[in-house]
Symmetry: C2
Subunit: 354 residues, 2 copies
């Protein structure tokens, strides 16, 4: 007797990226931002906040959603706040998936979408990216015409980005929902956030975890037409965003200068690291995110990842799908962290460890 549904019993849990405690570790495995968040967050934590914790948060996170709306040019009811983007992904799954319904995704991609198909006992349709360019297969996704199509854009772990025009074509041709997960959009050249204005079936997901350096806050938001957000609302926790997260998030959204300066530094480091790894014989895919997908020479990705870990540098190796077997995903650190990575890389290479 397991007390849960058979599909839950049978599935494997999502496995988060490895956390290795210790300040000496250079942690380039979970796409966190190496620079601190806006210092205005400190003020939020100090001022009169203790008594605010006594009462429930605003269930709608109204001030935060209004600030996001002002930033992007939407009314407040086009924005839905959540306990990180993963909370939004769960809401979408609960509302639109289930037995007899379908979830389509490019592969490789963020593995948590697949987890939702397993939890909801929905059919998963994998649509492999182009084996060379890792472009997503828009025509294949159109043909699949799933109830929910998830597209991370820029995609993870590839860093490759579909154009807004391609996404618009996808949205227009699908009968179901198109979820554009823009977790990494703050490092990209374009955004699909305007699509929901015309396309009632598009949900754009954003997070403060990456560009705003606030992964610990758990704060994301969805942009979509209000009738659709009202349906998602039904599936959420009553009070899903903590008071401190709402207030710190509001301060961060208002400090656009800090975010932009932060992401510009990452983008400069990204170009530099891509060049350095290319010089070392790696193939590096063009990335619009805060990480690089890197094919390691002679297929030694797993060995290289282990060799770096022995030197206190964590990067991400994916056992699946097969197209990732010769690759690593490396988060962009500070210039100093990237130097530590390259030194460890060179030392491991000189010992023929990969």
């Amino acid at each position: 007797m397991t007390y849960v549904r058979d599909n839950i019993e049978a599935m494997n849990a999502y496995v988060p990226g490895e956390q290795m405690p210790g300040s000496e570790v250079v942690k380039l495995n979970t796409n966190e931002n190496p620079y601190p968040p806006s210092p205005t967050a400190i003020d939020v934590m100090r001022h009169e906040m203790l008594d605010r914790l006594r009462v429930y948060p605003d269930a709608k996170a109204g001030r935060f959603c209004e600030a996001v709306g002002n930033l992007l040019g939407f009314e407040r009811d086009w924005v839905l706040a959540a306990n990180g983007s993963d909370n939004l992904i769960v809401m979408i799954a609960r509302a639109a998936l289930g037995p007899g319904r379908t979830l389509a995704q490019p592969t490789p991609t963020f593995p948590y979408y697949k987890t939702q198909a397993l939890v909801e006992a929905a059919e998963l349709i994998n649509m492999p990216c182009d084996p060379e360019s890792f472009a997503i297969d828009v025509d294949g996704l159109l043909e699949a015409n799933a109830d929910v199509t998830f597209v991370a854009n820029p995609n993870s772990p590839t860093g490759v980005t579909a154009s807004v025009g391609e996404l618009r074509r996808l949205a227009g041709g699908l009968d179901g929902l198109l979820v554009v997960d823009e977790a990494y959009a703050d490092f990209a050249e374009a955004t699909a956030v305007e699509l929901p204005r015309d396309d009632a079936n598009v949900i754009v997901l954003r997070t403060l975890s990456k560009g705003y350096s606030l992964a610990g806050l758990r704060l994301g938001y969805a942009v979509a037409q209000p009738p659709l957000l009202q349906q998602l609302w039904k599936t959420k926790e009553i009070y899903n965003v903590a008071t401190l997260s709402q207030e710190i998030g509001l301060a961060a959204i208002r400090d656009q200068d800090h975010m932009k300066a932060n992401t510009e530094m990452i983008k400069a480091s990204r170009a530099e690291l891509a060049e350095q790894l290319t010089r070392r014989g790696c193939r590096v895919w063009p990335s619009e995110a805060n990480f690089l997908m890197v094919a390691v020479p002679r297929g030694g990705a797993a060995a290289c990842g282990e060799a770096l870990k022995r030197r206190n540098v964590l990067v991400r190796y994916f056992h699946q799908p097969a197209s990732m077997a010769d690759k690593l995903r490396i988060t962009i650190g500070t210039p100093e962290q990237n130097q530590v990575l390259l030194a460890a890389w060179d030392e491991a290479g000189s010992h023929s460890e990969f």
Copy 2:
């Protein structure tokens, strides 16, 4: 085209208790605690926390779960932390409900359980409490033998508590899960938290929202046998508890003296308010929670609630079920807030407003 499942489209969303901004309002409608949380939370917010927000939280909230386990006498893997109890209720619903499965509950109770039945397209079985005592119907729940039975204990909005012996009998006779929601247990005389040791089908839910004055934090936890918690884990968000919530929650759990002094004050005020309302002709049910269920004389509950609201005192009136039509649920405030409530009550009564 609504893009969501028919049962989602058809259902109504859960409606949170009214929030009326303004410091002059005496807010006795959502069972918040009138006293501040442990002052040690301040230290957490000040010290070196900004850089911690940059990275993801511990997905397992390990230190918090270990502290809870130490407090209650369980190993860490018997405790699962979540973004408030409502996050745990969602996890249970996702794991164990769905079409063709059943959810049983006493009525009246916390309306959010019903929301889960609607989201999951599960069958809802309502088992009315005794119309006089508002005791839950253990035999009826045993006969229903649902896949998931939710029992809030103390129950809300009644404040009435089932004995641990009754809950043990219920657990032993059910083939499905028994969820004992102990949101208000810090104000009660007993707890069912020992039941999971013997009963593999029992999940006890706790929250820091009430006894610890941390409703804004969104932090709850489940106690159950590890194999069952491993199944629930599969349905949760990857990083469901924010870093600040984990750290402040840890400080609060470690300051048991503060929580106990806080809840003792509430219990003293509860006895005093019950006496005062009884003197005013109300029937007051014995409560082990931080609120009272009160039958207003001459059935004037709705009018009384409106009259109090005009005087800036918020209490909770429930339109459903019918057994609540003549009753109010009143949160225990500070002695001063309770005096304001009683003065407003007397003034409204003297003007024949209810």
